[in-house]
Symmetry: C2
Subunit: 345 residues, 2 copies
Amino acid sequence: MVTLKDISKATGVSVTQVSRALGGHGDVNAATREKVVEAAARLGYRPNAIAKGLKTGQTGFVAMVIPSDIDASGREIMFDMVVGISQAVSRHGLKFLLHVVDTAAQVPAAYDLLFQGGGIDGFILTDLHEPDPRVAYLQDRNMPFVVHGQYPERSHAFVDLDNFRVGEVLAGWLLDAGHRRILFLNGHDDRIYSSTRVAGVQHAFAVRGLNPGALDVAHGPMTRARGRDAALERLRRPDRPTAIVAGNMMLARGVWDAAAECGLRIPDDLSVTAHDDVLAQYPASGFDPIPSVTRSALPTAWAALADTVSRTIAGGEPEREIELLVPETVPGMSVAPPPSDESRG
Amino acid sequence: MVTLKDISKATGVSVTQVSRALGGHGDVNAATREKVVEAAARLGYRPNAIAKGLKTGQTGFVAMVIPSDIDASGREIMFDMVVGISQAVSRHGLKFLLHVVDTAAQVPAAYDLLFQGGGIDGFILTDLHEPDPRVAYLQDRNMPFVVHGQYPERSHAFVDLDNFRVGEVLAGWLLDAGHRRILFLNGHDDRIYSSTRVAGVQHAFAVRGLNPGALDVAHGPMTRARGRDAALERLRRPDRPTAIVAGNMMLARGVWDAAAECGLRIPDDLSVTAHDDVLAQYPASGFDPIPSVTRSALPTAWAALADTVSRTIAGGEPEREIELLVPETVPGMSVAPPPSDESRG
DNA sequence: TATCAAATCCGAAACGTTTCGGGTAATAGA
DNA sequence: TCTATTACCCGAAACGTTTCGGATTTGATA
């Protein structure tokens, strides 16, 4: 292994100056710097990450701890997320560490293990629950972390989609077309994004002077099968909803399935809006008609997450490092006025 | 952060002895050790992983580099693999590092980046191709690594399923029942396990004095859809196979689909054997009739991988650290003699 | 009592880096 | 000529750990 000392010997420049030259600090003559850089390249020098870490207290590792007992709907996208975040983090010259524990209860202990050993610069958290002990735990111990999602207090660094706006837009389209009996196929009820979206939907009712009494929110896993089942159950009722908001494209696909089974045409008999995460697994193509969606690429969020974690580690103030992503609104052909016999109901 | 020096001050024992006492070395009085251990616990001492790493040259990090451009069938199980390996590695007190690069071509550069920085003790490789540049690359540079799968030379540490035996058993059952026209639904043709299984199947023919001329090997992704399509195409030929070997349970499911579509009963009209990886995603339940399988839990292989990497890092000789897992053979009800009108064909 | 071995201990160096606190030489200004 | 400033440089300390080599104490033996 070639060290600074080797370069020092080879060039006759002191270790101090070699370090400065390579580190890009001032205080070193241009000619000297060039000589050092050349020698480093020639000898194949690579800085020793451990030694640097010992001195600076930073290792360039960003960790994410996940429990292995997540449910199937979480698994589906978890791999894309892990891959996406890992890639984004790599692009910042940081290294991504995935630590898997058996159950969610073991997560905090894993934070201790990784952080106190001194090997980790910061953590990334996703899939916030309500309440979620992880945030307070990390804040109490002064460990740097960034969250995908947010706590209402916003006292931590985070990146999040504007879920309030998602709910507002998706419901707004339907309300403006005249729908009142609306079904909202949402995610798990203990997820913060779920309740935020509900708030957005309710706000859409409120600003139009409408009572959201006829809003039916169905919480659960965001899968095609659940979307179909939940939609089917409602569509078979006499006072069936005339419109459905689907939380993601898989739920939307389930809605299309259910409509087909009931013989309902979209949008003539049933209007649908949905949120599109732009994931390869959840393609927005192949729908007929083209759905009206809010769109925000999850990979964009992951990249933003990496930006934020990089800045936070570098010493940014956590409360300042926040980013709220605004979804695109992409009207399609899946919204129409409610069928006349229904709108009177 | 509490260090050895703090414990030294608190106990009046030298840093040297504190280190030895905690490290479990001899050369330290029982009473002293007890005093030190007590103080360490009381002060909440946690060894600094970076400092230890600087001195010992080991960090406890095991890395896996994967390209993000793997195909869909690979993705399906990749997450389970990553989780399984990460968990297994954690249990050995090692930490798992996942590094994602864009394309397979960038993998070796990532090895350099991670290893030369001095932060990584060893690598885990999976999904071996033929040829695979990674093995030679790592061997040339003397980086410790363990492979899930094996190169024929066996000059490296590895854990692998005995795929030869898998092919031998699955084909043997069918041959012994009298089948001759056999379709083997295999994995991608550039994967080493695929060719090893083919060799096993051919060996099953050979030991019975049979010519494997009527063996039809179909290579491709190991998905349900591909299993169905490939099986269907063959089953509709006049000289259709009377038996099928499925490389995993998803392919098997596709075969069941195809048989149903063709109106063929299993095992009366069509015999099937398969290999079961015992993955939650690829359940072996819900088949009628119960298939005859070779069975080897992939999670077991991942655990063995962690054992092996742990020993290799600790200084084991790579060539010695090998483990060939023997599959269980679990006969079911999916094999019968070929239908009489077919067996003459 | 002198000698030796075993048990126990400790100082100091080392791992490779960064950085603090000067130091020297050249130049500019008085 | 003297002083102040600038540009460049270097030694040494420090991060927290492990470990080499030797020192000290103890107890037994001659």
